[in-house]
Amino acid sequence: MSSAATSFDTLKATARSADPWEILGPMRRILEGKDLDYSTARILFRIVRLARKTSRAQSKNAPGAPLRLAVLAGQTSAQLAWALDLYLTASGFECELYESPFGAWRQDILNPQSGLYDFAPNVLILAPGSDAAPPPAVGASEEEVAAAIERELSGWRELWRPLAQAAIQVVQDDFVLPSLRPLGSQERNISSSPSAFYSRLNQGLRDEARGHVNIHDLDHLASWVGKRQWFDERLYHHSKQACALEAIPVYASSLAALVGALRGRSRRCLILDLDNTLWGGVIGDDGLEAIRLGQGSPEGEAFAAFQRYALSLRARGVVLAVCSKNENATARRAFEDHPDMVLRLSDIAVFVANWKDKAHNIRSIARQLELGLDAMVFVDDNPAERELVRAELPEVAVPELPEDPADYAGAIDRLRYFEAAAFTDDDTRRADYYAGNAKRAQAREASASDLEGFLAGLEMVSKIREITPLDLSRSTQLINKTNQFNLTLQRMTIAEVQQVAGDPRYLARTVRLRDRLGDNGLISVVIGRIQEDTLRLELWLMSCRVLSRGVEEALFLHLWNEAKARGLERLRGVYIPGPRNALVQDHYQHLGFTECEPDSSDPQGAKCWEFRVAAEPPQLRTFIQEEHP
């Protein structure tokens, strides 16, 4: 307790200092440590508030991406709201919060003049609680139950509609199945029981939730905590608390992870150590035969199970890499020759085994994958290596690893690094894209002297079209996580993208690219706003996995043709410098635009470029054939 108290005093002092936001690093470590109790979370939130006050007094802005978050709860929302503020601030958002007046969340949504719409949130947390959906009487007929479910669902559709129109992204809790079971073991077998009703309603909500509504699996979270711990009847009777206050930190952290994912903050690559992380023992010393892996020992089984967990992450789009202090050949041999290895070399996008320091190697892995360090999670059983990477690369997430390999997967899973806002076809294939990229890199090396020959040999075909409903998830994902080839770094929720896609005042396009070596999927998004005679390109971004392939040239030709067909006179592009998008500072110049003065509609700090449509068609050589729908 005393050491914890000291660290809080240090944090408090930092929060009062000239650099109050230096608290965020240590705070993240505390939040990622062991499960936080309510009172400690409260102390940490106070420190955040103190830092906020200090930085306001210094007229400085908080770091991080601005986020306007509304919390609408059927029960008491105060504790959930500050805990969300804590977790989101620690994960790099500059939060502004709104809570609906107690007991008035429905009115807040349905009244277009309400405080909610005044506040204009990006994201809305909707925590209705079971009281919002009373179950039918036990013994009700099948028809009555079905009617009650339909009544509920149509009520939710009504509530979601105005929120979609206001382009508000909704994160809605599902209903927690009660822990009291008057029907005993028959609870879920009888369709009129509360448990059966809520579980059917939850499924109905999931089936109906589209695009701008994301259902948060609160029932799972309550089970994970344990329902006897989750509920606190005393506090429900005392002040309508939806759950035990000790469950508030985990509740907020789960919601914050989902909100982060919706805003493009999920991590995307898992970097694994080998010795005593993927198998027991040190392969260089013990030899291939003596490492503990798979059948033969319970500990070996635990390592194999951890490998299966890593493989299941790969299957959903997390890129795997290896970073180990080993002889390269020895390390690879385990993957090639050990019969109980679950992970294969082909599962690993980048394999680094050498004797250099791991921070250096992780930097190089990030470069090769063209991912930011803030997309990386590094897992190593060795505390010294973890400390080194934390000190050298604070952007990389380095979870504490328990001593027992049986607990590895659980320790990583609970931190929700890879939380997803959606699961797209692209996710299932991402690992293969990276494999394809490795092959392309080899092909490029083979014909390095002849870039044009290489590009021509790829036989690339693009498909440029409007943002269709099927492309919404992937487009939004790309908009929120592309950091390098991104001209304006404008982030959007799926609801906002949907709105733009259907608006005739906008010209929105996606690009898909396939080539001889595989399908690259949807890799670029551009959004232009038509204002008088000008197409203002407000968003232009592209996945780095198709860098230097001529996609931007092909897309520009397409836009030029579109602008011409509409009788527009000008294309206008802006570049807004950000932390990692220097790559595209000359983008418009390269396409033949000339620099021009910013006007009142341009964001601050923007560099502006213009291309007159009447000028000669741009002389750009591309090796991409456009396929027309």
């Binding site: 109790d37 309510y38 009172s39 106070r46 005393r234 506090l235 005392h238 002040s239 206050l245 000790e246």
Partner: protein
Amino acid sequence: MTIDPVVVHERLEAVFRRVFDDDSIVISNEMTADDVDDWDSLEHINLIIACEREFSVRFMTAEIAGLKNVGEFEAILRTKLEI
């Protein structure tokens, strides 16, 4: 294993200081919510939860709402700790 009532008093004072983030708080039997800035219904629950964790006890529903002053608070704690 019993706890010295003086220790209970000191630990309770530490809980108050932590919850209200004020190291100058000195608790006394007659002290009520009116005597402490910020001691509203929200902080009252925070106080209850912090005490439950500090002393590994559980307050009853009636006790949560019914505590009138610090003396009563401490008396209930002592009963729960069987001292």
